[in-house]
């Protein structure tokens, strides 16, 4: 009985997940010996190269962009999760589904659709232009319209780092909303009521009661957004500019166009170790919290 249950999944994980990862790990210690040949010489050169300033700079940039996008996600998602979990019973499933539905589309399509929104002649700029024209019309009689300039200058929102951040937020927003919602849903409402009853304002109750209690959900959401964002290459490829190369793009290039698989392997594992570091940090923080909580 037991083996019937364990073996299929276990073997699959072993053969098609752990073994490939192990192969990459080994390849990071290899050297190119021809267009398709790689010899494992157990050299550390690849890791040395991967840790050069140029790549470290890329890791740093990827880290920052992912962190910024995660922060924006968190700020946007919290009120949404709050709204859905405190909604009346019958509206909840509908609202939840509305949040999840965009998630039900291909990553590529979601990323691609942002292009029409962000480009110079895209919707965001059209919208801003509309507002600009409206503002001008209102301010004209007051003679203040010069403040807005002669012509509407569209924001350059595409093919740069801003677009990448936008893109990440757009694609991964549901991943932040769902864990937040799950935690808020289980929150004991009477705790907030107690806080209000004891004299705290809504904001104070929110900061002192709701947020600390929602902390596990916040951490889950951060992990679910930050890690994929760290390794993204599609979003930066489609929406980013020439200086928006992230670590994911570099890795992809080593395995495809540049054919420098050992370097790519080293970079991949560095990314993986970074991911583990983030997870370990979370576990450590959770452990501290459990001891002091």
């Amino acid at each position: 009985m037991f083996w019937t249950f364990l073996l299929p999944g276990g073997l699959w994980l072993l053969l098609f997940f752990l073994v490939p990862l192990a192969m990459v790990w080994v390849l990071a210690f290899g050297e190119r010996a021809g267009p398709v040949e790689i010899v494992i010489t157990w050299t550390l050169d690849n890791y040395r190269q991967a840790l050069e300033p140029i790549y470290l700079g890329l890791f740093w940039k990827s880290f920052w962009i992912a962190a910024l996008a995660t922060a924006v996600c968190l700020i946007v998602s919290f009120p949404v999760a709050l709204a859905v979990s405190f909604a009346p019973r019958r509206s909840k499933p509908l609202l939840l589904m509305l949040v999840i539905l965009p998630f039900w589309t291909n990553l590529l399509i979601r990323t691609y659709s942002m292009i029409a929104v962000l480009r110079t002649k895209g919707y965001l700029n059209y919208g801003l232009e509309y507002l600009w024209v409206a503002a001008k019309t209102i301010l004209a009689p007051l003679g203040l319209d010069d403040l807005l300039g002669e012509r509407f200058v569209p924001l350059s929102l595409l093919y740069n780092n801003t677009a990448v951040v936008f893109g990440i937020v757009y694609v991964y927003l549901p991943f932040m909303v769902l864990p937040l919602y799950a935690t808020l849903e289980k929150l004991d409402r009477s705790l907030i009521e107690a806080s209000l009853d004891l004299g705290a304002s809504q904001i104070r109750s929110f900061l002192s009661v709701t947020v600390p209690l929602a902390w596990p959900g916040i951490v889950s959401g951060i992990i679910l957004v930050f890690i994929p964002a760290l390794g993204t290459f599609l979003i930066s490829d489609l929406l980013g500019g020439p200086d928006s190369q992230l670590i994911g793009n570099v890795i992809e290039r080593q395995f495809k166009a540049a054919n420098n698989i050992p370097l790519g392997a080293a970079l991949s594992f560095l990314l993986l170790y970074l991911t583990f570091l983030v997870l370990a940090l979370r576990a450590w923080l959770a452990g501290r919290r459990a001891r002091h909580g």
Binding site: V24, L98, V99, W104, A116
Partner: protein, 279 residues
């Protein structure tokens, strides 16, 4: 029950204006790009920047595009196989982890969590390396050429299924199992008549998740598609790089429609079960 009018209560956050505005703005942000994409699939303009008129000719073009149709079909095949196998593997693993204690259990649980947590690109490149090494990338004809894609999809989907089914199993009242045995049922009969009916909502949710993950995937598909394998996301990707045309929008809209249809079907599949239980 009449809705209570009047000022929102202290905890009725959702009735507050600013929260409603925020929610509306977020939904606008989430849906506008997709809606625009769908609308612009009907745009009668090659460069597709300004609206020039309604047409369905790009849909016709898309349907006539043999490689696009092939890509589409391939992705559907992959999704189907991946869903079936992932659901089975995930359910079995969830049961093993829920039911038994064994040496190395923590390691298996960890290994199960890894595909969910690591950056997809790491998994993608490792699968590329693996399949290259065993000679399944390139130089193979259809349908075997789809094998790396299917295997890759299963590898990253079934841990999700396992998590979902495991969560459902955690809520199982063990005394139901004991009652079944007490009444004379064997281990297998108990599984069939008591445990599996209980797991059903979890299995269905897991299957849904597996199908969505497969249809929506780009990264793993990208790395496991050899030069002869044409899958939908890869095809669209190359079309996008050539320049956005309404044809891309048309193809995307069709995929969105299919995914939506599947979701609705899945929701319908779930509700009759609920109705039965309350009759």
């Amino acid at each position: 029950m009449a809705e209570r009018r009047g000022a929102p209560g202290p905890l009725e956050y959702t009735r507050r204006l600013w929260l409603r505005a925020w929610l509306a703005a977020t939904f606008l942000f989430l849906y506008a790009p997709i809606v625009i994409l769908v609308i612009f699939s009907f745009n009668d303009s090659r460069r597709n920047i300004v609206w020039r008129g309604f047409t369905t000719k790009y849909y016709a073009k898309a349907i006539a595009n043999a490689s696009l149709i092939e890509a589409f079909t391939n992705s559907l095949i992959v999704a189907f196989i991946s869903t079936v196998v992932s659901t089975i593997l995930g359910t079995l693993l969830a049961m093993a982890l829920w039911r038994f204690r064994f040496p190395g259990k923590a390691a298996v649980e960890g290994a199960n969590a890894l595909p969910i947590v690591i950056p997809e690109i790491c998994m993608g490149v490792s699968l590329l390396v693996f399949f290259s090494r065993i000679g399944l990338m390139g130089g193979i004809s259809w349908p075997v050429s789809l094998t790396p894609v299917v295997i890759g999809h299963i590898a990253f989907s079934f841990p999700f299924v396992a998590v979902v089914v495991r969560a459902r199993l955690e809520g199982f009242d063990r005394s139901l199992e004991e009652a079944s045995k007490d009444l004379g049922a064997s281990e297998w009969q108990t599984l069939r008549h008591v445990l599996i009916p209980f797991m059903k909502p979890g299995i269905v949710a897991g299957a849904l998740l597996a199908m969505t993950l497969s249809l929506d995937d780009f990264v793993i598909t990208f790395f496991t598609s050899g030069p002869e394998t044409i899958t939908f996301p890869i095809k669209i990707y190359s079309m996008v790089r050539f320049g956005a045309t309404p044809e891309v929008n048309a193809a995307s809209t069709v995929l969105i429609a299919i995914t939506l249809l599947l979701t609705v079907i899945a929701m319908r599949l779930q509700t009759p079960v609920r109705e039965e239980e309350t009759r």
